[in-house]
C-alpha cells in the first residue's frame, strides 16, 4: 500500500517535471523566434494546451468523458465579450466573470449528468455543447449571432501575450499538480477507476465529481476568455464540435491521465498542423488517422511510450 502510494507520487512528480521542462523550453522561444506570425501560432497552441489540460482533468483523471470543452471555451469568451459589449465592463472584471460563469455552468452540468455514464454522458454533454452553440449563434439581438463580437485587447505586444499565456499555463499546471498530489486527486482517480468502490470507502462522489466538472469548465472558460482578448473577436465557431475533436485528439496523442500529455499533445498537434497546412491541407486527415492508431494500439499516448508504460 505504501509502495503503491509512493509509486503514484513518484510518477506524478516525473510527469510534472517533464511538463515544467516543456514550459521552460517554451519560455526561451521568443529569444529565437521574433516573427509575430509564429508567436501567434504558439499562443493558439498554448490556448489548446489549456483546453486539453482542462478536459483531461475531467476525462483523464476523473473518468467523465465530456464532449463540451470547446463549448465552455466559447461560453467563457462570450461572458467576457458580452460584459464589454452591453455594460462596458473592463477586462479586469470581464475575465474573472468569464471564469466564474463557466465554473457555475460546469457545476450545474456536473449536477445534471451526475448519474450518467459512458455513451449517455457523452451524448448529454454533446447536446449541451450544441445547444449552447445554436443559442449563441441565433440570439442575434443579444450576441450579434454569427457575426461575433469585438473584444478589447489586453496589450498590443505579441511577446507580451505569449508570456501571459505561458504564465497562465504554468499556473494551471501547478494548480493541477497540487490538486492531484492532494486528497482531491486521489479521490478523482478512485472515482475514475471504480465509482461504486470509491463511494463504499466513504468518498463523497457527488461532491468530487461536480468539483471536477466546475474546475475543468473554469479552466476551459479562462482559456476561451483570454483567447477572445487575444484574437479580439469571439464567434460561435469557438464552440464547434471540430474544436472539441482537436482537443480530444491532442490529449489522446499526448497521453490521457497525465499532465505532460495534454501540453505536449497540444503543441505537437497544433504546430505540426501548421507545417502540414503547407503540404496541401491534409493536417486533419493525418491527425484523425493518428488518433485512431493511438487509441487502438498505444493507449497511453506519447507520454506512455516515452516512459515505457503501455
Amino acid at each position: 500500500m505504501n509502495d503503491a502510494r509512493n509509486l503514484w507520487s513518484r510518477r506524478l512528480r516525473t510527469d510534472f517535471r517533464a511538463a515544467l521542462s516543456i514550459i521552460a523550453a517554451l519560455a526561451v522561444v521568443p529569444l529565437f523566434v521574433s516573427s509575430p506570425y509564429w508567436l501567434g501560432i504558439l499562443v493558439v497552441s498554448i490556448y489548446f494546451a489549456l483546453l486539453a489540460l482542462g478536459w483531461n482533468l475531467l476525462a483523464g483523471f476523473t473518468g467523465q468523458f465530456s464532449l463540451a470543452p470547446a463549448a465552455f471555451a466559447m461560453l467563457g469568451a462570450y461572458a467576457t465579450a458580452l460584459l464589454d459589449y452591453h455594460l462596458k465592463a473592463p477586462l479586469a472584471i470581464g475575465i474573472p466573470a468569464g471564469i466564474l460563469a463557466t465554473a457555475l455552468l460546469g457545476w450545474l452540468l456536473g449536477r445534471i449528468v451526475l448519474r450518467l455514464k459512458g455513451p449517455y454522458l457523452a451524448l448529454t454533454t454533446l447536446s449541451f455543447a450544441e445547444i449552447s452553440r445554436v443559442v449563441v449563434g441565433n440570439s442575434h439581438e443579444f450576441t450579434r449571432g454569427d457575426q461575433g463580437l469585438n473584444v478589447p485587447t489586453l496589450m498590443q505586444s505579441r511577446v507580451g501575450y505569449y508570456y501571459l499565456f505561458l504564465a497562465v499555463l504554468l499556473g494551471v499546471l501547478c494548480a493541477l499538480y497540487l490538486l492531484m498530489r492532494a486528497r482531491a486527486g486521489r479521490f478523482w482517480l478512485a472515482i475514475r477507476d471504480d465509482e461504486t468502490g470509491a463511494a463504499s470507502r466513504g468518498i463523497d462522489v457527488v461532491r468530487y465529481k461536480t468539483l471536477a466538472f466546475a474546475l475543468s469548465c473554469a479552466i476551459c472558460g479562462l482559456a476561451g476568455s483570454l483567447y477572445g482578448t487575444f484574437s479580439q473577436l469571439v464567434s460561435p465557431e469557438l464552440g464547434l464540435l471540430l474544436q472539441t475533436g482537436l482537443v480530444i485528439s491532442m490529449v489522446v496523442i499526448g497521453g490521457m491521465g497525465t499532465l505532460t500529455g495534454p501540453v505536449a499533445g497540444a503543441l505537437i498537434v497544433y504546430l505540426s498542423s501548421e507545417l502540414l497546412r503547407g503540404v496541401g491541407n491534409i493536417q486533419l486527415i493525418v491527425f484523425s488517422l493518428v488518433v485512431i492508431v493511438f487509441a487502438r494500439f498505444f493507449r497511453t499516448g506519447l507520454f506512455g511510450l516515452a516512459t515505457g508504460r503501455r
Partner: protein, 296 residues
C-alpha cells in the same frame, strides 16, 4: 390545412430519420456504444450515389445499389478494424471501453469528412433524382416525386428489416447476441460474425438514407452531422438499443420538428431535438420503450 401538410412532410422525414436511427440502435444494442461516425456512413452513401450517377453515368437505380454496397462494406470494415477490441478481451477493456469507442468513432468521423473534403472537394454536389417530376399537390399536401419515392423505399426497407430481424435465422441470431453475447456464443452462434453483420446492415441503411436524400440535400462533406444528431435524439428517445422504439421515435420526432419549425421557432429547431435528448437522458434514461433497469 397547413397542419396536414406539415404532418405528412414530418412523417416523410421521420421515415428517413428512422432509416438512419435503426442502424445506430442496433449497434448500441449489441455493443453498448454510440457510433459517432454514423453520420459519415450517410455522407458516404450520398457521395457514392451522386458520383456514380454523374461520373460513371450509370442509371440512378444502379447508383443506389452501389451506395448500399459502399455503406455495407464501410460498416463491415469499421467493425473488423476498430470495434473488435470492444468484445475480444472484454474483461481487460471494461473500464476504458466507452472512452475508446467515443475516441475512435469521433476520429473516424473527422477522418472521413476530411478525406472526402480533400478527394472530392468541399463544394456541394447535386445528384440526379430517381424520377424527375415537378412539385405537385395531393389535396393540401405539397410533394415531389423524389421525396415520395424515397419515402416509399424507406418504408419498404424498414418493413423488410423488421421481418428480417423477427423471422430470419440471422435476425434471430442478432437478437440473441444483443440480449446476451456469452449466452449466444454458448448456444453455438458466431457472435463475432453477427456483430460484423450488424455493422454492415447499419452502414447499408445509413448509406441508403444518404443516397435517397442526395437529390434533395446537395451533399457536402459535413452533411452527415445533422442526421447523425437526429439519430442520437431518436435512439435515446426510443430507448437505447430498442429497434421498435427507434422506429416510433423517428416518426414522432419528424412530425414534432416539422410543427416546431413553423409554429415556434425556425432558428432553434435543431436545439429543440437536443433539448428533448437531454431531458430524456436525465429524467427517463430508459427511453419511451426501453427496458427498465438498464445500468445508466
Amino acid at each position: 390545412m397547413l397542419a396536414l401538410d406539415l404532418f405528412v412532410n414530418g412523417l416523410i422525414f421521420g421515415l428517413f430519420y428512422a432509416l438512419m436511427a435503426v442502424g445506430l440502435a442496433m449497434v448500441f444494442g449489441v455493443l453498448k456504444v454510440v457510433n459517432f461516425a454514423h453520420g459519415e456512413f450517410y455522407m458516404v452513401g450520398a457521395y457514392t450515389y451522386v458520383l456514380c450517377a454523374m461520373k460513371l453515368n450509370v442509371s440512378p437505380w444502379v447508383a443506389l445499389a452501389m451506395a448500399a454496397f459502399a455503406g455495407a462494406a464501410l460498416g463491415w470494415t469499421v467493425e473488423r478494424l476498430l470495434m473488435r477490441p470492444l468484445y475480444v478481451g472484454y474483461a481487460s477493456w471494461s473500464i476504458m471501453k466507452d472512452e475508446y469507442a467515443v475516441v475512435v468513432t469521433f476520429g473516424l468521423s473527422l477522418l472521413l469528412i476530411n478525406l472526402v473534403d480533400k478527394v472530392v472537394g468541399p463544394y456541394p454536389y447535386r445528384g440526379p433524382a430517381l424520377i424527375e417530376t415537378s412539385r405537385f399537390a395531393v389535396g393540401p399536401v405539397m410533394l415531389n416525386g423524389q421525396k415520395l419515392i424515397a419515402a416509399g423505399i424507406s418504408a419498404a426497407l424498414l418493413v423488410a428489416l423488421a421481418l428480417f430481424i423477427k423471422r430470419s435465422l440471422w435476425g434471430r441470431q442478432i437478437q440473441a447476441v444483443a440480449q446476451n453475447r456469452l449466452g449466444a456464443s454458448l448456444a453455438g452462434i458466431d457472435a463475432t460474425r453477427t456483430t460484423s453483420l450488424i455493422f454492415a446492415i447499419s452502414g447499408l441503411l445509413a448509406a441508403l438514407a444518404g443516397a435517397l436524400l442526395a437529390p434533395l440535400i446537395n451533399p457536402s462533406p459535413d452533411v452527415g452531422a445533422f442526421p447523425a444528431i437526429k439519430s442520437y435524439v431518436i435512439v435515446v428517445l426510443g430507448g437505447m438499443g430498442s429497434l421498435w422504439g427507434a422506429m416510433a421515435a423517428a416518426l414522432i420526432l419528424g412530425v414534432l420538428e416539422s410543427f416546431f419549425a413553423v409554429y415556434v421557432s425556425y432558428d432553434y429547431r435543431d436545439a429543440f431535438g437536443l433539448l428533448i435528448l437531454m431531458l430524456v437522458l436525465i429524467f427517463r434514461p430508459q427511453g419511451l420503450l426501453g427496458e427498465k433497469g438498464r445500468e445508466v
